[in-house]
C-alpha cells in the first residue's frame, strides 16, 4: 500500500525525539451499504476509506496521530509533529522490517467487491418478502446490507511487518408489526468474517421469519412486571449480558488503571464452578474473528475464567506495559482514526451440562429472555443494563405469556456469581461493540443460562 522504505522513514521520524516504540497502521477499506424500505432499494452507497495511523510509546505515554495525507513528506511531518509531544529521554532503535505471512484461517470465497449490486439486492428482496408474508400485521420491513474489505498493513520499530485483508458481510432485518394503534419491532442481524457466500447461503426463512415473529409476538405482549426474578437467558445473542457484565471489565483498558472490579484478582474465584468464559478470535469465519489483531499480533483463544476461577485478561501492547504482562492478541480499533486498545473478539460462555428444557422445567416463577437487545456497562463499577427484545413469563416450569419492556439491571461481578445453570446448546450471535477505540464487530455467545436473581425493570408493578 505504501513503499517499505517510506514506512521505515516514518517509523524513524516517529522515534526522533526519544520514543521507545513506533508503529504504522495503514488502512485501505472498500465498503458497500444498501438499504431496503417499503420493498424498494432506497439507499446504496460505496466508498473507500484510506488513512494512516502512527503511534509512539515513551514509557507509559502513548502518542497517536492519523492522517489521510499519504505523501512521504506528509507522513514524515505527521510523525515528527507527534514526536514533539515526547520530551527527550531514551533513544529508540528501529529493527529491520521482517515480512510475516499471515496464515488465513478465515477463508473468503467471494470477495464482496466483485459481486454485482443486483445480486445483493436480490437477497434483500427475498428476505423482505419472507418477513412481509409472515403475517398480515407485518406492515414494514427494513433491511440493511453491508460489506467491507479492509486491507491493513502494520509495521513497527520491533521489525514487525504484516499485511492482512479482513472481509465482513452482514444482513440486518428489522420487521415492524402494527395492529393499527401500536407498533412493535423485531430484529435479527446475522454477520460473518466472510464474503458474499455467507449472505447467499443464509437461511432467510429462519432469520427474516424470526424478525417478523418477534415483532408480531411483542404486539400482543403484556407489560413486563418489575422486581427481582430468576432469569433464563437463551443462547446465541443472549451472551450480550456477559459481554457487558464481565467482558468489558476484563479488558486491560480498564484493568490496567485499576478501573475494573476484576483488577488484581487473577486466581480468585469470581464465578460458580459451572462458568468458563472464553474470548477466541480464531473461530473460523465468525463475525468477531481476525487473523491478526490491529497491532499485528496473531489472535488466539484466551480463557478468561475457567471453572469459576479468574485466569486472565484481554491485553494490548500499551496496557501490557502498565500491567507488566504480555499482549494477548486482543488489540483492536475501528479504523486508522482510533488508537487501538484491548477489546473483545468472539466472547462466549462454554457449554455446560443442562438441557434447555430442564432449565425451564426447573424454574417455578421467572422471566425467560429469548432474544436480547443491546446494553451497556460502567466498567468502573460493573453496573450494567440491557434490554430484552423478546421476553416471556415462566410459570410452574413452563413458558407462559410474552411480556414487553423488560430491562435487566445489575452488577456484573454479582450477576456472574448468581449463574446457577448452564445449558449444553452453545451458540454465537453477532453484534457491534462501541468503546474507546470505536465500534467493532464482536460475537457474543453462550448456551442457555439461568441466573438465580436479576432486577427486572418493567412498566407493570409487582
Amino acid at each position: 500500500m505504501i513503499k517499505q522504505s517510506i514506512i521505515e522513514n516514518v517509523l524513524e521520524a516517529a522515534l526522533s525525539t526519544g520514543g521507545d516504540f513506533s508503529e504504522v497502521f495503514i488502512e485501505d477499506k472498500f465498503m458497500n451499504m444498501m438499504e431496503l424500505q417499503g420493498g424498494k432499494i432506497e439507499k446504496s452507497i460505496s466508498g473507500r476509506d484510506f488513512g494512516i495511523g502512527i503511534r509512539i510509546f515513551s514509557g507509559l505515554q502513548s502518542i497517536y496521530t492519523y492522517t489521510t495525507d499519504f505523501s512521504e513528506e506528509g507522513l514524515i511531518n505527521a510523525a515528527k509533529r507527534a514526536a514533539l509531544a515526547i520530551k527527550g529521554g531514551g533513544s529508540g532503535t528501529i529493527h529491520p522490517l521482517q515480512k510475516e505471512t499471515v496464515s488465513a484461517i478465515h477463508k473468503i470465497v467471494q470477495m464482496p467487491q466483485t459481486v454485482e449490486h443486483a445480486r445483493k439486492a436480490a437477497v434483500m428482496k427475498k428476505a423482505n418478502e419472507i418477513a412481509r408474508n409472515y403475517d398480515a400485521r407485518i406492515k414494514q420491513a427494513e433491511l440493511r446490507y453491508i460489506d467491507e474489505e479492509q486491507n491493513v498493513l502494520i509495521a513497527n520499530s520491533e521489525g514487525k511487518f504484516v499485511e492482512d485483508t479482513r472481509v465482513h458481510s452482514r444482513l440486518s432485518i428489522q420487521a415492524i408489526a402494527s395492529d393499527g394503534i401500536e407498533m412493535q419491532t423485531g430484529f435479527y442481524g446475522p454477520g460473518a468474517h466472510a464474503g458474499f457466500e455467507f449472505i447467499e447461503n443464509l437461511d432467510l426463512n429462519h432469520y427474516a421469519g424470526e424478525a417478523a415473529r418477534i415483532a408480531v409476538t411483542m404486539l400482543k405482549a403484556d407489560e413486563c412486571p418489575s422486581g427481582k426474578f430468576p432469569v433464563i437467558i437463551d443462547n446465541e445473542f443472549g451472551g450480550v449480558i456477559f459481554h457487558e457484565a464481565c467482558g468489558h471489565g476484563l479488558e486491560a483498558t480498564s484493568v490496567a488503571k485499576n478501573n475494573s472490579v476484576f483488577a488484581n484478582r487473577i486466581g480468585e474465584k469470581v464465578a460458580p464452578d459451572i462458568v468458563t468464559y472464553i474470548d477466541d478470535g480464531t473461530l473460523p469465519n465468525e463475525w468477531g474473528s481476525l487473523n491478526i489483531d490491529d497491532e499485528g499480533e496473531k489472535t488466539r483463544k484466551n480463557v478468561l475464567i475457567e471453572d469459576g476461577i479468574l485466569k486472565g485478561y484481554l491485553v494490548d501492547k500499551f496496557n501490557a506495559r502498565r500491567m507488566n504482562t504480555e499482549a494477548t492478541g486482543s488489540s483492536r480499533r475501528q479504523s486508522y482514526r482510533f488508537n487501538p486498545t484491548s477489546r473483545m473478539t468472539n466472547t462466549y460462555i462454554a457449554p455446560g451440562k443442562s438441557m434447555p428444557e430442564e432449565i425451564i422445567a426447573s424454574t417455578e416463577h421467572g422471566i425467560y429472555a429469548k432474544y436480547m437487545g443491546g446494553g451497556s456497562v460502567n466498567p468502573a463499577t460493573g453496573d450494567y443494563n440491557f434490554a430484552v427484545a423478546e421476553a416471556y413469563l415462566v410459570k410452574d416450569g413452563k413458558i407462559d405469556r410474552p411480556v414487553r419492556g423488560a430491562t435487566l439491571i445489575g452488577n456484573g461481578a454479582k450477576t456472574l456469581q448468581l449463574v446457577d445453570m448452564v445449558g449444553n446448546n452453545l451458540g454465537h450471535g453477532a453484534g457491534m461493540c462501541g468503546s474507546i477505540s470505536g465500534s467493532l464487530p464482536v460475537n457474543v455467545g453462550q448456551p442457555m443460562i439461568r441466573v438465580s436473581e436479576i432486577t427486572v425493570g418493567g412498566t407493570k408493578g409487582e
Binding site: I45, R48, C224, G405
Partner: protein
C-alpha cells in the same frame, strides 16, 4: 493533485459520462486530544483528515460514492461507484441537486482565539483540573476519564448548478469522569464542558462539579418499586430527546416508522411544551448556515404550545408531502447518504430554577443520568425502559441517592405528561438541549 483540481475534474468528467446533475461534498478536519492519568499525559492524539463524497443524478436516480484517497484514480472509482449505486435503486430518489437558496445567514461558528490557544495551555488546564479533582475529597480514588479535545473542520459543497458553499467551525470539549469509593460502595460521576471560548473554562469550578456529581451519589438507598413523579435533569432530558428525535423526521413518518404520521397540527404534548431547532444557537457547539443539500437553515418551532407545527423535512420528503423543505437534510459526513436530522434541537426553558422544581415535588425521583438508550428505547413504538441514576425526593428535598434503577414509559405519553419546565437550558455535545422537566409519573424499578 490539489482538492480543487480534483473537484473540478470530477464534476466535469461526471457530466461527460451520463450524469445529468452532480455534486461534491468535501470535508477537512483537524483534531487534538489529550488524556491525563495521575498527573502524566497518558495519551496524546492529533489528526488531519479529509474526504470527499460525490452524488449524481444518473438515469433519474441519485447515486452516491465517497473516497478518502484524493488521487487521479479515485475519479473513476467515484463515477463508476455512483453509477452502480444509482442503477440498483428501485425508483427515482425523488430529488435533484439544489441550485441554492436566495440568501444565507452569516453566523460564525469558528473562533480565531480558540484556534490560537497554545497546546501547552490546554494540557496545563486538563492537568490542573485532574489535580483539583483528586484534591477535592479523599474518597475520590481515581479518574477513569480525564480528557480534553478540540477540533476544527471545514466543509465545502459545490455542484454543477453553480452552488458553492463553505463553512468553518471549531470547538473544544472537556470530559471528566471520577470514581469515588466509600467502604464497599463505588460510584462514578462525570461532567462534560464544551465551548468556543477557552477563557471561560474554570478549572476550579469544573473539578468541583465532577467531584460533587460523583460524591453525591454515595450513600445510595433502595426505595419501593412503583410509579413516581419524575424530575428529569436537563442532561438526562436532552439525552432522551436525542434518542427520540427520529420520530420527528418526515422520512420516518413516510416509511410508516413513526407514530407522528399525520399528526401535524395536532396536540402531541403538554401545553407548556415548546420544541425548537436553531442551527445557530449560541450555546450549542455545532452550527451551520446551510443543510446537507445546501438549503439555508433557520430557527424553527417544531412543537408550539404542545401542537406539532411541522415535521423535519429535506427536499425529497417535502416534495412527497407537498410542503417546503425545513432545511433538515443531514449529511453527517462525506461518507453518508442524505438523511434527516435536526441540528440544535432543544426544549424551550421555563422560569423555575432546579431547586424550585425539586421543591414542587412532594415525593418523587430526580433523574441525573440515563443508560442503555441505544437498546432500551424504540423510536417505532415510543416505549422505553432504561437504566437510570438519581435521587429520591422527599418533602420537596433531595433525600438520598437511589440504588440502581430503571425507568419505563412511552415517549408520546411522556410528552403529554410534562408538568413543568425549568429555566436551566443546557446543550449537550450532540446538539440536543433541554432544561430540567417535571413529569407526572414513570414506572420506577429499584434494585
Amino acid at each position: 493533485m490539489t482538492i480543487n483540481e480534483f473537484q473540478e475534474k470530477l464534476l466535469a468528467e461526471a457530466m461527460g459520462t451520463g450524469f445529468k446533475e452532480a455534486e461534491v461534498y468535501y470535508e477537512k478536519s483537524e483534531s487534538f486530544r489529550v488524556m491525563t492519568f495521575k498527573g502524566e499525559i497518558d495519551s496524546y492524539e492529533t489528526s488531519e483528515e479529509g474526504g470527499l463524497g460525490f452524488r449524481g443524478l444518473y438515469n433519474g436516480k441519485m447515486g452516491y460514492a465517497y473516497t478518502e484517497k484524493i488521487e487521479e484514480a479515485s475519479i473513476a472509482f467515484l463515477i463508476d461507484g455512483a453509477k452502480a449505486n444509482a442503477e440498483v435503486l428501485d425508483e427515482d430518489d425523488g430529488t435533484d441537486i439544489f441550485k441554492g437558496s436566495e440568501t444565507y445567514a452569516k453566523h460564525n461558528f469558528y473562533s480565531e482565539e480558540l484556534a490560537q490557544v497554545p497546546t501547552l495551555e490546554k494540557i496545563e488546564l486538563i492537568k490542573s483540573i485532574e489535580a483539583k479533582v483528586y484534591a477535592y475529597d479523599p474518597r475520590i480514588v481515581t479518574l477513569n476519564y480525564c480528557a480534553l479535545q478540540d477540533f476544527s473542520e471545514e466543509r465545502v459543497m459545490a455542484n454543477n448548478k453553480g452552488l458553492s458553499l463553505n463553512e468553518k467551525q471549531n470547538g473544544l470539549i472537556i470530559f471528566i469522569s471520577a470514581v469515588v469509593k466509600d467502604g464497599e460502595e463505588m460510584k462514578t460521576g462525570s461532567c462534560i464542558k464544551m465551548t468556543r471560548n477557552f477563557a471561560e473554562l474554570d478549572a476550579e469550578a469544573i473539578a468541583k462539579e465532577v467531584a460533587e456529581e460523583a460524591l453525591s451519589s454515595l450513600g445510595e438507598r433502595s426505595i419501593p418499586t412503583k410509579k413516581y413523579p419524575i424530575i428529569m435533569r436537563h442532561d438526562a432530558s436532552a439525552s432522551l430527546l436525542a434518542t427520540f428525535a427520529p420520530v420527528f423526521s418526515a422520512e420516518n413518518t413516510q416509511a410508516g416508522q413513526s407514530l407522528l404520521k399525520g399528526k401535524v397540527g395536532e396536540k402531541i404534548a403538554a401545553d407548556t411544551f415548546m420544541l425548537l431547532d436553531d442551527p445557530s444557537h449560541p450555546d450549542a457547539i455545532s452550527g451551520s448556515n446551510f443543510d446537507g443539500e445546501g438549503v439555508a437553515t433557520q430557527k424553527r418551532a417544531i412543537v408550539s404550545n404542545g401542537t406539532l407545527e411541522t415535521l423535519l423535512h429535506n427536499r425529497k420528503t417535502a416534495k412527497k408531502d407537498g410542503v417546503v423543505t425545513t432545511g433538515h437534510a443531514r449529511k453527517s459526513s462525506y461518507k453518508s447518504t442524505l438523511t434527516i436530522a435536526p441540528l440544535n434541537m432543544y426544549i424551550a426553558p421555563g422560569n423555575k430554577s432546579k431547586e424550585e422544581l425539586i421543591a414542587s415535588v412532594e415525593e418523587g425521583i430526580f433523574i441525573t443520568g440515563l443508560a442503555g438508550l441505544h437498546s432500551g428505547a424504540s423510536t417505532v413504538s415510543g416505549d422505553f425502559s432504561l437504566a437510570a441514576t438519581g435521587f429520591h425526593i422527599k418533602d420537596g428535598k433531595i433525600a438520598s441517592a437511589v440504588k440502581q434503577m430503571t425507568i419505563a414509559g412511552n415517549f408520546f405519553d411522556y410528552l403529554k405528561d410534562i408538568v413543568e419546565t425549568g429555566a436551566d437550558l443546557e446543550f449537550m455535545p450532540g446538539g440536543y438541549g433541554s432544561p430540567s422537566l417535571v413529569v407526572k409519573e414513570l414506572s420506577v424499578t429499584v434494585d
